[in-house]
């Protein structure tokens, strides 16, 4: 039975909660069981925001977990906070524009991806989160790119401009990661 546990973390303004939602919705649209759990309330006001996403073929029991299968980390404080919450052989995607993780151990698969920089290059810094999803997709292939695009449409239903820029961000991330994979 497939079960994928993802944590997305970053600062308040980086759209990590939305990133998690898009992941969850795409899973749902592919017929999987999904769960999205945000940090909330006063926790948010301080610094980091994060959410946990679970995507599974079967019913999801516990909504909380100790170790994630994948982390998507958008900034440095989040990296410090979450870097131990990942299982052996787990995937750690780090926004290398704002943080960096040396792959010191063989325990993890670490991908330093310049998410913010890619987004800035696209002319829309705030799409860095979507770039991150693209990277994740390319690396994990859990969900079809087309489903993910529909999920983005769904989440951003009302705002057409945002839809197109985010779709591009998704693709950029995806292709960046594919290139990265090949070059390794």
């Amino acid at each position: 039975m497939l079960i994928e546990r993802i944590i997305c973390a970053g600062s308040g303004g980086q759209g990590v909660l939305a990133m998690g939602k898009v992941l969850a919705i795409s899973g749902m649209r592919e017929g999987k069981e999904v769960l999205w759990l945000p940090s909330y309330g006063a926790e948010v006001r301080g610094g980091t925001a994060h959410c946990a996403v679970v995507i599974s073929d079967g019913p999801i029991a516990s909504p909380v977990f100790e170790k994630a299968d994948a982390l998507i980390i958008m900034n440095d404080p989040s990296l410090r906070r979450f870097k131990n919450h990942i299982r052996d052989k787990g995937l750690l995607i780090v926004n290398s524009t704002l943080a960096h993780c040396k792959a010191t151990s063989r325990r993890l698969k670490v991908v330093n991806a310049p998410l913010t920089q890619i987004a800035i290059d696209l002319g829309f810094e705030r799409a860095a989160n979507t770039v991150g999803i693209g990277v994740y997709l390319a690396l994990k292939k859990l969900i079809a790119l087309s489903t993910m695009e529909k999920a983005i449409e769904e989440v951003l239903a009302h705002r057409e401009k945002l839809v197109s820029v985010n779709k591009r961000a998704l693709e950029e991330g995806y292709f960046w990661a594919q290139k990265e994979l090949k070059s390794n």
Partner: protein
């Protein structure tokens, strides 16, 4: 010329000091600080009159001024 000090890592980059400095002597840094904000920095130490307005409007109390 007053000695004005902005505690970089305490600043939340709200921009109020920047907006109210009568000398336009404060600007936002281009580098984010530890907390991820782009903090206020003095443009030029010499231009500061020590008027205290930046201190007055700063919600984080991260500006100190010696006359």
């Amino acid at each position: 010329m007053a000695k004005t000090k902005i505690r970089k890592n305490r600043c939340k980059g709200c921009g109020l000091c920047i907006a109210y400095c009568p000398k336009k002597n404060i600007k936002a840094d281009t580098q984010h600080n530890e907390a991820g904000y782009f903090p206020a920095v003095l443009v030029c130490d010499d231009d500061c009159t020590g008027c205290g307005i930046c201190y007055l409007v700063c919600p984080e109390v991260c500006i100190e001024i010696d006359p």
